[in-house]
């Protein structure tokens, strides 16, 4: 199978006479030894991998692992010291200045950690930048930029300035700026790392949604394993400029290559792996919309020791009836459940991850777990969720950061 991008034995050494560093690395010296011996900094060392058309490849590692250097080598913002980068067979490292500019203009869209928006340009002129560089006529430029802004949900903000927007919105502008060029490859350098956790999650969902339509080849840099697991079709783990493990999320989770990887993996938030299906409880007695009246519903509740009961009709979940409403209806002599049925109940699918259940449970408890035919499969109340999580692996909190080097302020 033909790969979109193939990286072969790529090296980046910082400092004077970097070739010497490559030689030493090939002789087996480590990053620290080389620094001590020659003063050269090893950015990336003998990295080879490939990226397939239309996939999201996440490159992850701690800060200083060389992941940001690696992504900058791909479009030569940083000049690699040695090795080859083949983009559909063309060696990017051998291109002249003009060819490289063409390549950057047409093929690569880049999104930066701190957004890198131009502060003195309005939102729309930020998005237009790449097209402006290509000398696209103003009218067409504006149309394409508007379309890109709509894609990221920022229509109506075109005349604002970056400083007037929130972080999440600024990064949407950054995304739109890259998308406006319609590149086939997106380089995203810790694109969501500077956002706070909730916004970050939104942006991840948004990116996945966009990707369903666009099918770009995305190379996503991250230091957050949760993010990598969520976004990555494949994941590459880096340490000290080298690749430690490469594979799907599952293969990395279940089969960590060494201590470094397993350290990452043991920090995975259990609430993202556990789903509604695994923690729901049997719903027990259910009232029938067609046959049961208030009296029958109350009786069933009393039998099961509940204060409310779900109502089904022909196997579909209709709503819930609460005990106080049922006894009031009984007194006023009503015969069916129509008037006391509460239909605004929270339903979740069995695949919903546990962390998404928390906010729902705060709003209303219990939660009904229903399948695609709206059939009631189980219920979740606050107690069941907490008990299920407590049984799982010990975790260090909800937002886990793989970093131990000053990344906690994200």
């Amino acid at each position: 199978m033909d790969h979109k991008i193939i990286v072969q034995n790529l090296y980046k050494i910082f400092g004077n006479h970097p070739r010497k560093g490559v030689k030493l690395l090939k002789q087996g010296y480590t990053k620290d030894q080389i620094l001590e011996k020659t003063g050269l900094g090893v950015g990336i060392a003998d990295v080879s991998f490939h990226v397939d058309e239309g996939e999201i490849l996440v490159i992850m590692g701690l800060s200083g692992s060389g992941k940001s250097t690696l992504v900058r080598c791909l479009n030569r913002l940083i000049e690699p010291t040695d090795g080859k980068i083949l983009l559909e067979g063309t060696d990017v490292t051998s291109l002249g200045r003009e060819e490289l500019r063409q390549l950057r203009q047409k093929r690569f869209g880049m999104v930066f950690q701190h957004f890198a928006l131009f502060p003195r340009r309005s939102v729309i002129r930020n998005v237009e930048y790449g097209l402006e560089v290509q000398k696209v006529p103003p009218k067409e430029r504006r149309d394409r930029a508007m379309k890109a802004l709509e894609q990221v949900g920022l229509k109506g903000w075109e005349d604002s300035y970056p400083e007037q927007l929130s972080g999440g919105m600024q990064q949407r502008v950054g995304l739109a700026r890259a998308l406006a060029l319609d590149p086939d490859i997106m380089l995203m350098d810790e694109a969501f790392s500077a956002l706070d956790p909730l916004i970050r999650r939104d942006m991840q969902d948004e990116l996945l949604k966009l990707q369903e339509k666009m099918h770009k080849t995305i190379i996503f840099i991250s230091h957050d394993l949760d993010e990598a697991l969520k976004l990555g079709d494949r994941i590459i783990l880096m340490k000290d400029g080298r690749i430690v493990q490469e594979g799907t999320a599952e293969s990395i989770l279940t089969n960590p290559a060494d201590d470094y990887v397993s350290k990452f993996v043991e920090d995975v938030d259990i609430s993202k792996v556990v789903t509604a299906e695994t923690i729901m409880k049997n719903p027990g007695e259910v009232a029938s919309y067609a046959h049961d009246g208030p009296k029958a519903a109350l009786w069933k509740m009393r039998q099961a020791g509940l204060s409310s009961i779900y109502v089904q009709h022909k196997g579909r979940l209709m709503g819930i009836v609460r005990a106080e409403d049922a006894s009031a209806a009984l007194k006023s002599g009503e015969k069916d459940l129509k008037n006391i049925l509460a239909t605004d109940i929270q339903k979740v699918s069995p695949e919903t991850p546990a962390y998404e259940l928390f906010p729902l449970l705060v709003e209303s408890s219990p939660l009904a777990v229903v399948d695609s035919e709206e059939h009631l499969m189980g219920v979740i109340i606050k107690g069941t969720l907490l008990a299920a999580l407590a049984e799982g692996v010990q975790t260090n909190g909800n937002e886990l950061d793989a970093g131990d080097t000053g990344r906690q302020n994200n």
């Binding site: 047409k106 690569f108 131009f118 930048y129 402006e132 560089v133 060029l181 380089l187």
Partner: protein, 283 residues
């Protein structure tokens, strides 16, 4: 005590020789240049003096208001210039303004490109910065000496030494402004395939504008102070008035001219500061 054990190194004489060489072989050029500039200056001064002072004073007040949008500054301009007129210093003030204007323009025309060059090119940076150190630490009077053989006595020599004296901040702050543009922004511009010029004009210069404006402001202030000193080689204007007052020991005249210089300096400085602040807003 003299150093006898080593022959004297002819530092001064070498420089003098170079200056002589230039003035001997290039003086026809510099003199021609001098004539052109001098007629330019007199054109500007005569043009300005053609209007009655109150017309110009109102015009300057309007300009101050238009550029700064500050009522206080406009009022200060009006009152200050009226005071100068009242002290019978209007003519010298106009010629001083003309000299400052021309020197600043020349300093910018040379300084901004040099600043850009030194920001973008490391070898240019290494070559230019020590020269700037020399230019700034050399006593200002020294520049007056070669000005005479090159351009003769009069305003052009004054402009020459003023340009040399006032240019360093324009170069330095242009360079600084461009180097201060965050790396990630420069990377962003590169990642979209900008050419060097596109990057400069679409990103670096707009981002550096407030810093560059601060540099130009300093250049204007230095030019004003040098134009006053240059009165010693025959530049007329307010400096000439001060110089006359020193020679004749007339404190009244000297302080009046001094106050006029302060007024001009304050007006120019405040206007430039306002422009600098406005250029800081996104536009």
């Amino acid at each position: 005590m003299e150093m006898n054990w080593m022959p004297e190194i002819p530092v001064g004489r070498t420089i003098e020789y170079v200056i002589d060489l230039f003035s001997e072989h290039c003086s026809f050029l510099t003199r021609a240049f001098s004539d052109v500039v001098e007629s330019g200056i007199s054109l500007i001064v005569n043009g300005l003096m053609f209007f009655p002072p109150w017309v110009l004073i109102l015009a300057f007040t309007a300009i101050a208001w238009f550029l700064s949008r500050k009522r206080g500054l406009a009022l200060f301009t009006l009152v200050g210039l009226l005071l100068i007129w009242n002290m019978n210093l209007w003519g010298p003030t106009v010629s001083t303004l003309a000299l400052v204007l021309i020197s600043t323009l020349i300093a910018m025309m040379i300084g901004l490109p040099l600043g850009i060059l030194s920001a973008l090119n490391q070898s240019a940076y290494r070559a230019i910065m020590p020269v700037l150190d020399v230019m700034q630490t050399m006593p200002a009077f020294v520049y007056l000496i070669p000005a005479i053989p090159f351009f003769g006595l009069g305003p052009v020599g004054a402009i020459f030494s003023t340009v040399i004296f006032s240019m360093p901040p324009a170069i330095r702050l242009t360079c600084l402004g461009i180097r201060q543009v965050p790396t990630e922004l420069v990377e962003a511009a590169d990642s979209f395939g900008s050419t060097r010029w596109q990057k400069l004009f679409k990103l670096q210069l707009p981002m550096a504008t407030p810093t560059i404006m601060a540099g130009i402001n300093q250049t204007i202030m230095l030019a004003l102070s040098m134009v006053v000193i240059a009165a010693m080689i025959g530049a007329k204007g307010l400096g000439g008035e001060v110089w006359k007052a020193i020679q004749r020991l007339e404190p009244a005249r000297g302080f009046e001219a001094g106050i006029a210089i302060v007024i001009v300096a304050m007006i120019l400085d405040r206007i430039m500061q306002r422009i600098g602040k406005q250029s800081d807003k996104p536009a």
